[in-house]
Amino acid sequence: MIQTLQFYLSYPFVRYALVVGVLIALCASLLGVTLVLKRFSYIGDGLSHVAFGALAVATIVDLGSTSVVVMTVTVIAAILILRTGQNPRIHGDAAIAMLSVGSLAVGYLVMNLFSTSANISGDVCSTLFGSTSILTLTKAEVWLCAVMSVIVVAVFIFLYNRIFAVTFDENFARATGLRAGAYNNLIAVITAVIIVLAMNLVGSLLISALVIFPALSAMRVIQNFKGVVICAAILSVLCALVGIILSILFSTPVGSTIVAAEIVVFFINCLIGKIKAS
């Protein structure tokens, strides 16, 4: 088995997939802790559908660089979603449900009506579940992903204390002069960036899993914020590594294998948490 693995690792595209997978998993888990605690778990799901719709439209209209278009649309959607979430008059969950289902439908419709490819259901499937796209990454995409990940991690570390304050108690943070709105927007933008990057890895339907599972698992066993963040990051990276390697060895779909690993870890942590509490 190790020989098979060595054989696969000699191919650059496998190494790319591992690097990108680990970086995205790391970024997603860092933000996941904040999003889960702020009750924004659904934002990943909503945004990924928006990204799917944007990708479909951008591919058909052929606007040159599709990733730039998708990124811009998703960032705008992220800020809009966070804004409506704060408005007591509009029900945040309904707005997100509308936006996400709407973009999913329009995306699929556009793909069907104007597709240039012969294999539409294959295209749709790989966008939704990311079945193969992580193994076809170009060197430029790997670099883009690496640079974005470094930026996300750096921003998170430098603003860690402020992100904690805004997550724990937004009103107190604002009363003491912190610009909580700006930090919320920043969190939304970073989330959007990660989701667009992660579409290659697990596809748009499974992205939420990367965001929420590591945070939820870590919260079962750890009782302080810093510990939860570190634990979530470690669990997420391990799950991504194990998931990608297993998917190569047993030729299973990458995204769902990673998510399956996350689910297993979540139940193990639930058990550990129960034992610790008793």
Binding site: F158, F164, D169, A175, N224
Partner: protein, 234 residues
């Protein structure tokens, strides 16, 4: 010059006024309770003082060395906090953030400040405990320590005894009284009108059109108090 001077305030949110013509001043070292019916605007007044809600009319002047954001704030608990995985130490330390400026991390001075305030609130031994595992009274002490990290001048408390049992409530009021005697200015929004009359030096009664501000003795002699006692006696 007074600490905080409010002139003809109009309070409200999203364009709807809830209370008008509120004028009062707060001197350094005072203990003011804001009372009034639900929806009368007392929470809105407090949020306006803190800069969380924009002012609809009138003006607020901060004086006597008080800066706009040098206010220690004890908010009501939010549902996010009920199962938040944070240690007492992390929460109290976050109160010093306003003193950080552009520095990304806490320095030794801030850690010492947090430590001093935790000892002052008698929660130093709990510093590694998770916030969600504390009792209601302990949680309020943690948030109080955080507020004290943010300000040594003025504390603003929003219904601080909601959900506390009578014994812990009494202890909490004594704690606030002690802080007031140590020189902190206190503004408290409260439902608990009897405690307000017992502990506060002055009372601000907020109502939609008429509002009252005066010493506790004046308040007890006023028709606002008579009306309330009438209702209670019935």
């Amino acid at each position: 010059m007074s600490y905080l001077k409010c002139e003809n305030l109009t309070l409200g949110y999203e364009g709807t006024a809830v209370a008008e013509n509120i004028s009062f001043e707060i001197e350094k070292g005072e203990y003011l309770c804001i009372v009034g019916e639900n929806g009368a605007g007392k929470s809105t007044l407090m949020k306006t003082l803190l800069g969380l809600t924009p002012l609809m009319g009138g003006n607020i002047v901060y004086g006597d060395g008080l800066e706009a954001h040098a206010i220690g704030y004890l908010p009501q608990q939010t549902f996010v906090q009920r199962d938040f995985p944070a240690s007492v130490w992390e929460i109290v330390l976050s109160g010093t953030l306003s003193k950080c400026g552009w520095r990304p991390f806490y320095n030794r001075e801030m850690r010492q400040l947090a430590q001093a305030n935790m000892k002052r609130m008698d929660i130093w031994d709990l510093r590694k405990t998770c916030y969600r595992n504390l009792s209601g009274g302990q949680q309020q002490r943690v948030l109080l320590a955080r507020a004290l990290c943010a300000s040594t001048e003025l504390l603003v408390l929003d219904e601080p005894v909601t959900g506390l049992d009578p014994k812990v409530t009494a202890e909490f009021y004594q704690l606030i009284e002690k802080l007031n005697q140590e020189g902190l200015t206190i503004i408290m929004v409260s439902h608990d009108i009897h405690a307000a009359v017992k502990y506060a030096g002055r009372i601000l009664h907020v109502e939609k059109e008429r509002s009252f501000v005066g010493t506790t003795a004046e308040y007890v002699a006023s028709e606002f108090w008579k009306e309330l006692s009438m209702i209670e006696r019935r």
